[in-house]
Every structure is written in structure tokens, then in C-alpha cells.
């Protein structure tokens, strides 16, 4: 128990230098992220890409704020869009007050207004909902979500009824001559805010109350026996999460210049849960990955198919069942193999598994699209476009074909997946091990 003194000092030194390089590396990560965000609109030339990237940036902030509850604090909320939406509505109303002769409030500070709005309501609802975690918290979040959704139908003056509240960002006074007329100009605003918000949320997770949020998530009882009120810790996290959700809502108000009741409803709350979970709630970057992938799929799939929500749902189920650690967890899982320089040994077994999985997916997607076509179009239409083919949907052949593909693919997965898993296990073994 009593180690010799020199050993102790040396250890502290090692820790100190480690944290130094750590800090430098972390700074490098943030700088690289900033550079990437600056370069993106120049690299991605597709004109429809900028609006999608704007949507991604907003989703990233929203999902990160959600993970302050779920991943960091162990609070499963079904109503987080309340703070996003209310922040957005408040930002939209304030923006409408701005302009010549009105409030001096330039667009770049508007997300702060949204954040304060989110914070205000998070403090209000958090004051009683954070008393308990677990099922009680989840139920209250659902109840608050319903309450606000119902209020949006009643208080027309604030929520704007069916049409929602529209606004106009070009009417606001300029700050440093910065104009926000094009999507690209708004992109830089969103990217800047997303970077700052992400850095702040990361910092929060390293502060005393942020660390205690993890402790309370793990074991609320023990946290109380080291001096912390679990309820206060949850409340502070909840307020912070509400603030950043409101920032995202403010960015939404700037980007779309309209807010409707949909933005604070249960669907929006469900979507942020989905994207955060798909990305991985156990990692800080998880929600970022999830928001980007989710938004990408959402905007892509909705161009190709009317049942894209179904596919996102299936993806969510697959994540919960097979990769509960999410995309970030999947990546983190491969770090040992990468450090050992054995990633290349995984290429072949993974490619094979991916191939058969793709065949399965194609079969399942084909069947789902056939069903969708048959039930949603008039019987007079007999052919549909599917996977670059023209398919006679009302004959037996394509159904059999896709069913065969799904079945064959599934058999293939059953054969290939254990081999991929074995290859992974072999590649992940520490270098020295036999």
C-alpha cells in the first residue's frame, strides 16, 4: 500500500505530460473540425447540398443537447423538442421585433435568444421532472411534450395556429456588415454556432457538475453519499440541455424563417432520440455522427421513396438490436485492431458480409416497395421503377425474386457474419498475446 516515493512522483509527471499532449491533440481536433466546416461548401459543389448541411448543423446541436440528458445524465426524454421548438418560436418572435425602428438584434446573436428561451422553459419543467430519473422522468417528459403540443393548438397568438410563425431574417440590423440572404451565408452562421455549441457542451461534460451527471447516471444513491443532490445535478444538466436545444431552435428559425407546432411535437422529440441513439449515446461524437447520417438519409431517401420513415425505423431497430453502442461505438470497437495494424485483415470478411447483407437489404426493400406500390396506387398502374429496373409489380415474378434474394442473403449473412466476428476478435487481440 505504501509505494516508494520516487515511483509516486514519476507517475504524476507522466500523467501531467500525458494531459499536455492530450490538450494539444484536443485543440487540434477542434481546429480541424473548424477547417473542415469552412472548406465544406467549397468541396461539396452540389447546390442542394448547402440546405442539407444547414439542416445537419441544426440537428447536430439538437442531438448533442439531447445526449446531455440521455448519454451523460441517464435521463430518457420523450419531449426534448419542447425546448427546441419553444426556443425557436421565441427567437422567431424576437426577430420579428427587430428591424428598422425596432429592437437592435442582429441575426448572429439570435440563437442566444433561442437558447435563453429553451433555458427558461427547461428550468420551469425541470424543476419537477428531474426529481427522479428512470421511468418517472420519461413519463413526465412525455406528459410535458403532450402539454406543449396541446397548448400550441390553443394559444394561437404565440404559436401562430396552423400556419405557424413566419419571420424574415433580412429585416434584422446587420452586425459588422454580415448579411444573411443566401443559404451559404446562413451555412457559415450555423457552422460557427454548431462548433461553439459543441465545444461548450464538451466542456460542460468535463466540469464538476458534468462529471457528477455521469456519476448520478451510474449510481444516484452513491452520489448523494459523497455530497451531491442527485436532483440538483440532474436539474443543472436539464437546464443546460434545454439551453442548447433552444440554440438549435434559434438556428432553425434563422434558417427556415418559419416555426410550426410540428417543431415541438412528439415526432420531433422522437427523431432526436432516434438520431442520437443511432450515433451512439456513450460517446461525445455519437450524436454528431447520428445527426449527420440521419439527416442525410432523411433528405436522400425522401427523394426516392414514400416510406423512408419506415427505413429509418428499421435502422433504429437494427441499431438497438445489433449495435447498441451506435455508429461511434462501432468505430471505437475497431480502435484496438487499428492500433495493432490489423485492420487490413478485416477487409475481406467484412466485404463479404456487407455484400450478402446488401443482397438481404435489397430483397427486403424490394418487397416493402412492392407492398407500398400495390396498396397505394390504383390497380390500373401495373409497373413501377425499382432499383433502376421497371418492375411488373402485379405479377408473381418480382415478389418471388425479391423474396429469394432476401432469403439467400439472410442465409449468406448467417454464414459470413460469424466469420467476420472471428476475424474481428483475432484482429483485436493485444499485440503481445498469442
Amino acid at each position: 500500500m505504501s509505494a516508494p516515493a520516487p515511483a509516486t512522483t514519476r507517475h504524476v509527471e507522466v500523467a501531467a505530460t500525458a494531459s499536455w499532449t492530450h490538450r494539444l491533440r484536443r485543440l487540434g481536433v477542434w481546429l480541424a473540425a473548424g477547417a473542415l466546416l469552412l472548406a465544406l461548401p467549397h468541396v461539396v459543389r452540389n447546390p442542394v447540398a448547402v440546405p442539407v448541411m444547414n439542416q445537419m448543423g441544426i440537428a447536430v446541436v439538437f442531438a448533442l443537447s439531447y445526449n446531455m440528458l440521455l448519454g451523460q445524465g441517464g435521463m430518457l426524454s420523450f419531449g426534448h423538442a419542447v425546448y427546441f421548438g419553444l426556443g425557436g418560436f421565441i427567437a422567431a418572435h424576437v426577430l420579428n421585433l427587430a428591424g428598422p425602428g425596432g429592437l437592435y438584434l442582429p441575426v448572429p446573436v439570435l440563437p442566444l435568444v433561442g437558447g435563453l428561451g429553451g433555458l427558461l422553459f427547461a428550468a420551469l419543467f425541470g424543476s419537477f421532472s428531474t426529481r427522479r430519473a428512470g421511468t418517472v422522468f420519461a413519463m413526465i417528459s412525455l406528459g410535458v411534450g403532450e402539454l406543449i403540443a396541446a397548448s400550441s393548438l390553443i394559444f394561437d397568438g404565440f404559436f401562430g395556429g396552423e400556419e405557424g410563425v413566419t419571420t424574415n431574417r433580412t429585416r434584422a440590423p446587420l452586425l459588422l456588415g454580415l448579411e444573411f440572404t443566401t443559404d451559404r451565408q446562413v451555412y457559415y452562421l450555423i457552422a460557427g454556432w454548431a462548433l461553439v455549441a459543441a465545444a461548450l457542451m464538451y466542456s460542460f461534460s468535463r466540469t464538476p457538475v458534468g462529471r457528477m451527471a455521469n456519476a448520478v447516471r451510474d449510481n444516484a444513491e452513491r452520489a448523494e453519499f459523497v455530497g451531491y443532490s442527485a436532483r440538483w445535478v440532474r436539474f443543472v444538466s436539464f437546464c443546460a440541455a434545454g439551453f442548447f436545444a433552444g440554440v438549435a431552435g434559434g438556428l432553425f428559425a434563422i434558417n427556415y424563417e418559419i416555426l410550426t407546432a410540428e417543431n415541438l411535437g412528439l415526432n420531433a422529440s422522437g427523431a432526436v432520440l432516434l438520431m442520437t441513439y443511432i450515433g451512439g449515446i456513450g460517446y461525445f461524437v455519437g450524436p454528431i455522427l447520428g445527426a449527420v447520417v440521419f439527416t442525410f438519409l432523411q433528405s436522400m431517401l425522401s427523394d426516392y421513396t414514400g416510406i423512408w420513415l419506415l427505413y429509418l425505423g428499421i435502422m433504429f431497430l437494427a441499431t438497438v438490436l445489433f449495435v447498441p453502442a451506435g455508429l461511434a461505438g462501432l468505430i471505437a470497437m475497431h480502435l484496438p485492431a487499428w492500433r495493432a495494424g490489423r485492420l487490413r485483415t478485416l477487409a475481406a470478411p467484412y466485404a463479404l458480409t456487407a455484400l450478402v447483407a446488401l443482397v438481404t437489404a435489397a430483397g427486403v426493400i424490394g418487397l416493402l416497395e412492392l407492398v407500398h406500390f400495390v396498396v397505394s396506387t390504383s390497380p390500373s398502374r401495373t409497373t413501377m421503377r425499382l432499383f433502376w429496373m421497371t418492375v411488373p409489380a402485379r405479377t408473381l415474378a418480382p415478389w418471388l425474386g425479391f423474396a429469394a434474394a432476401a432469403a439467400a442473403g439472410a442465409l449468406g449473412v448467417r454464414w459470413a457474419a460469424p466469420r467476420a466476428a472471428a476475424a474481428f476478435a483475432a484482429a483485436s487481440r493485444p499485440p503481445g498475446a498469442p
Binding site: P208, D218, G227
Partner: protein, 251 residues
């Protein structure tokens, strides 16, 4: 001198069943005391009452002269009382280092602050490093606490309890389930970390009890039947009978 802990006619019922039946006990400050008694006597329950986990049904509890009856566990902990649990009660997903850091934050005055980073707080770092060294867990600092061995988890359990620097320490069966040599190490650790403090410890291993305790309290069916020095407890026929369940016949 005011006692570190003072119980005055404390009662506790669970669903109408009396479990603690009128305990009055004063623990002198700066002493190491053992609380012994058969299984189910109410030793852990008594700890739960003192530390605010459960509310008393009747009676008062004072800590260093101040009434703490009815306070929440965190409020009692902030007044300098800390406890360990009979069943290991740690933060399983946090690293060993994080477990210890979280246990020193309040004591070092960081409260609910969100404007400074834990890893830049020198005092937290130093205290945590020192505690890890004491626990012999320095090499395991970055391991999630949930994957530690049983003996390591029991050591961490004690570490979390003492890291904040509380001057009144309650340990509930810290050596249970340990081998002879592990027990010796833990006893040595307890001796180190409780020097100059008040310790109350539930313990079944009589050699540990007689080795460590200045005084011994015997709890049987929710009542303290004796509270005395080890020698007198050892000699007491009443204790022998009640605790061991056999009347003392020969000498």
C-alpha cells in the same frame, strides 16, 4: 466533549415491524468502534438511519452535537460524515480515477460549478492520486470500476468513502468475502485512512474487531445490549449468550 455521533432513543419500523427498538448510543470523537451482532440484528439499518438513507420512526440523531435527524444523505455528508456499503456501491461505468475524483469534488468546494474543468483542478488531481496510491489502485486508474476484481472493488468502496476527508467514517462489513491476506491489507488500509478520525465499523471477523476497536457496541434484535471496551465485551456473559446463542458454562 461532544460525541461524534449520538443516538437518542432511535426507533425504526419497516411496515409495522420494529427493527430498531430504542437505541441510545454515544460514539466518542476520535475513537475506532466496532458494531457487532448477529445477522439481521439491524446493524446496516442503524447505518442507514444515521446517514439519512432512511428516516427514523422515532428518536433523534446528532452529529458532532448538531441535530441531523431527517436530513438528506448529501446534507449529512457535507457535515463531515461518510459511509461505505455492505454491498459494493460504486459508479460502475466511470473509471477508477473518476470514481475517486467524484468523491472529492464536493469536499473541495467545487459544488455544482460548470465554469471550470475537473482535470485542470490541481487539488482534485492531487487528492485523487494520493487516494489511488493508498488503495493500491494507481495502475488500475483508467479501468472502468465495474470490471475490477471483488477485492479491488471493496478497496474502491472504502476509497470513495474516505476520499472526501470526512472525519466521521462508517464502514459496513469492509472485509466481508475476503481472504485472510486481503483482510489484513484492508485492515491496514483502514488503520491508515482513519488515523485521528472517528470510525464506526460493522464487522464479523472477531480478530479484526479486537485488533482495531477501542470500543465495541453489541446490537441484538434492534437493541444495544452492551457498549464497552473489548476486554469487558469479551468477558461479558450476557454478550456471549445473546451473540453466540450459547450460555457460557465453563470458564
Amino acid at each position: 466533549m461532544t460525541p461524534a455521533i449520538e443516538l437518542v432513543d432511535v426507533h425504526k419500523d419497516f411496515g409495522g415491524t420494529p427493527i430498531i427498538r430504542g437505541v441510545s448510543l454515544a460514539i466518542e470523537a476520535g475513537t475506532r468502534q466496532a458494531l457487532i451482532g448477529p445477522n439481521g440484528a439491524g446493524k446496516s439499518t442503524l447505518f442507514n438511519l444515521i446517514t439519512g438513507k432512511h428516516a427514523v420512526s422515532r428518536g433523534r440523531i446528532r452529529l458532532k452535537g448538531e441535530d441531523i435527524t431527517g436530513l438528506r444523505p448529501y446534507a449529512i455528508n457535507r457535515r463531515g460524515l461518510s459511509r461505505s456499503f455492505q454491498v459494493t456501491n460504486i459508479f460502475p461505468w466511470l473509471s477508477v480515477l473518476e470514481n475517486v475524483r467524484c468523491s472529492v469534488l464536493w469536499a473541495l468546494g467545487y459544488r455544482y460549478s460548470f465554469w471550470q474543468r475537473v482535470e485542470r483542478a490541481r487539488d482534485v488531481q492531487e487528492r485523487a492520486d494520493a487516494v489511488l496510491e493508498q488503495l493500491n489502485l494507481t495502475a488500475r486508474r483508467h479501468v472502468p470500476a465495474g470490471v475490477l476484481s471483488y477485492a479491488e472493488q471493496r478497496a474502491l468502496e472504502i476509497g470513495i468513502t474516505i476520499a472526501g476527508g470526512a472525519d466521521v467514517i462508517l464502514l459496513d462489513e469492509p472485509t466481508s468475502g475476503m481472504s485472510r491476506s486481503e483482510t489484513e491489507q484492508v485492515v491496514q488500509l483502514i488503520r491508515e485512512v482513519t488515523a485521528g478520525k472517528t470510525l464506526v465499523m460493522v464487522e464479523h471477523d472477531m480478530s479484526v474487531v479486537f485488533d482495531l476497536a477501542d470500543r465495541i457496541a453489541v446490537l441484538v434484535y434492534g437493541e444495544v445490549i452492551a457498549h464497552d471496551t473489548p476486554e469487558r465485551i469479551r468477558a461479558s456473559a450476557a454478550v456471549q449468550e445473546a451473540y453466540l446463542g450459547v450460555p457460557q458454562t465453563t470458564g
